[in-house]
């Protein structure tokens, strides 16, 4: 029983340290995206993106050294994909980027939206679920 408990705690600890939803290898940083309003269709949605050093269990937010960009992206069922309305962001504190004007719509499209987070030349995506 003690062995199982130790193993469980160890695995959970590794899990916490390894928590890295979006990994940017160039800077060895992780990021996560959290919705603060939405996501919704046909109205503004808001979210924050948090960056931290990979392996930092405390997730102390750090600003990436390279430029950070974000955009929405539609992947259509017919294989085509395209961008969405331009979004803007502010780094509201070190390593925390805020977007308040993400606009999603379907308008008869068959597909799904993503948010793309780009650090330097490296790009990671988050699927948007409404």
């Amino acid at each position: 029983m003690k062995i199982i408990l130790t193993l469980f705690i160890t695995l959970m600890s590794f899990g916490a340290v390894a928590h890295c939803p979006l990994y940017f290898a160039d800077e060895n940083k992780c990021a996560s995206l959290e919705w603060t309003d939405g996501p919704v269709l046909n109205a503004n949605s808001s979210f924050r993106v948090f960056f931290w050093e990979k392996g930092d269990a405390d997730h102390s937010y750090v600003s990436p050294e390279q430029s950070v960009e974000m955009k929405t992206w539609m992947i259509m069922a017919n294989g085509h994909s395209h961008g969405g309305p331009t979004i803007t962001w502010d780094e509201v504190e070190n390593g925390v980027f805020e977007v308040a004007d993400a606009k999603f719509f379907m308008g008869g499209m068959n597909g799904h939206w993503q948010v793309k987070v780009i650090v330097g030349e490296e790009e990671q995506s988050v699927n948007v679920e409404f």
Binding site: G83, T86, K103, G107, G108
Partner: protein, 150 residues
């Protein structure tokens, strides 16, 4: 007496001429259907009508892909007077070749017969139709398409 007043009349006349300009929606010297400042965009030369009301649209600035675009338009009757239609107006973007629309357009009435449409997003290059619709209880009673190529 009159001789002494002549400079004043002249000044007033000059002030009148200088201060009178066209309406901001009508001052563009280009044809009313032109989309100014955009190279490579085709301009529809025909007239746009919703029932018997003519629509004269103008983009407020250069049209940009992915960015928020806006346009102003006026509605005039056969006598050239500004009019409001008896039904509500709706604008909608549609990409006929791909069979989908875009983000909902926000329509604001500025004054009688004068409207502003904002949040017009062209999310890819190609042929788009801007639909001007008259809506009565959820049903389209009249519709006009303004073809736009980006």
């Amino acid at each position: 007496m009159f001789r002494s007043l002549t400079p004043i009349y002249f000044f007033l006349f000059l002030t009148l001429i200088v201060s009178c300009g066209d309406s901001p929606f009508l001052s563009n010297e280009e044809p009313s259907k032109a989309i100014s400042g955009v190279s490579g965009i085709s301009s529809y030369q025909g007239k746009l009508f919703l029932k018997d009301i003519e629509i004269i649209p103008r983009y407020t600035k250069k049209v940009e892909l992915y960015d928020s675009n806006s346009l102003n338009f006026i509605l005039i009757n056969g006598s050239g007077e500004l009019v409001d239609p008896e039904y509500s107006i709706k604008l909608m973007l549609w990409m006929p070749d791909h069979g989908h629309g875009s983000y909902p357009i926000v329509l604001t009435k500025i004054s009688k017969g004068v409207y502003s449409a904002s949040e017009i997003y062209f999310t890819m290059p190609g042929k788009w139709d801007l639909h001007f619709q008259l809506i009565d209880e959820g049903q389209i009673v009249a519709e006009e398409l303004w073809p736009i190529a980006l």
